[in-house]
Symmetry: C2
Subunit: 190 residues, 2 copies
């Protein structure tokens, strides 16, 4: 909407776009404060800014990628991250020399791939706050333990296994097959 030059938006318009109820939109926003103007609506620019602040997106999030396989390589060159203030500032693998050539070849730009043992040191140096786990399932919990030890509090886990971390740490999973299961269920019932 901002790019489209729209200045003001109503809860009803937002509700349409999101396929939800207008009261829902207002309640949800009101939970965090008063962002609208009665009789007018919400200023697009202000609202965007406020939502980003609420979500914690008004800063650059520095991430480490662990496991430079097919998926890891894909994420290294994933362009949408940059637009959204997410930045992979370090990449790790258990066998860095092997993967360096491969990654460089694919990206056409230098990508540093470090040995996994250096995570803690590098995490502190580069102020890393999020770890992306793209290792084989068998290695995922071990890597998570290293991330916890390095005090990297957020983990995005792509390995299809449940990962356990202490309180204060957060794991979000991206399980492709689980999402497919969901799709399969919906397709199976008309």
């Amino acid at each position: 909407m901002e790019q489209g030059g729209e200045k003001v938006v109503s809860s009803a318009q937002l509700a349409n776009r999101c396929m939800v109820n207008a009261a829902q939109v207002r309640k949800d926003l009101a939970y965090f404060g008063e962002f609208g103007i009665r009789g007018v609506g919400y200023y697009v620019k202000d609202l965007l800014h406020d939502i980003k602040r609420i979500l914690g997106l008004n800063k650059e999030w520095r991430m480490a990628l662990i496991g430079i396989g097919n998926l890891g390589s894909a994420l290294l060159s994933y362009k949408d991250f940059l637009k959204q203030n997410y930045k992979i500032v370090a990449a790790f693998d258990i066998d860095p020399p092997k993967v360096i050539g491969r990654v460089s070849e694919k990206l056409g730009k230098p990508v540093e791939v470090l040995h996994i043992s250096r995570i803690k040191e590098v995490a502190r140096e580069r102020k890393i706050e999020i770890g992306l786990i793209t290792t084989p399932p068998s290695e995922a919990q071990g890597v998570a333990n290293l991330l916890v030890d390095a005090e990297i509090r957020g983990i995005l886990n792509f390995a299809p296994v449940q990962i356990i971390v202490p309180d204060g740490y957060v794991v979000k999973n991206v399980f492709f097959t689980t999402i497919l299961d969901n799709l399969a269920y919906l397709l199976s019932n008309e």
Copy 2:
């Protein structure tokens, strides 16, 4: 549990593993039928079978992948799909000759990459029911339209744009940055 040789499981055990309430587990299962035995629990093997049937996983799901970039290539060699009865039986791109070498090189096995224009024909031939969209965002809706035309009713969309399809079709999105936004929010509030 089945692989671990466990024969029977109680709702309490399942609840522990899933971090939910035991009554929840029973209610959810009971919604679909009676699978347990009072005073005993659920037979692991039977329950697994029943859940698969409920979710529609008691068959092979044949998928098409559209867009052979980094992410698409990664999914082509994603091993977890095979274990779960999901099979990519066709791959499409707008420029197949260019990508064939690359894909083959990565996988070490022949992968057919066809021109996008052949989707409809191939979808019918190979009984494709799910499409995976891994194109750039700008192409995603166009590809979705082709999938709809080919009567592929399920779409797993990895392109970071909203996709619109007619009734009867289902789209599930995998938005990496949205999941990261969620993580960022959780990290920002303790």
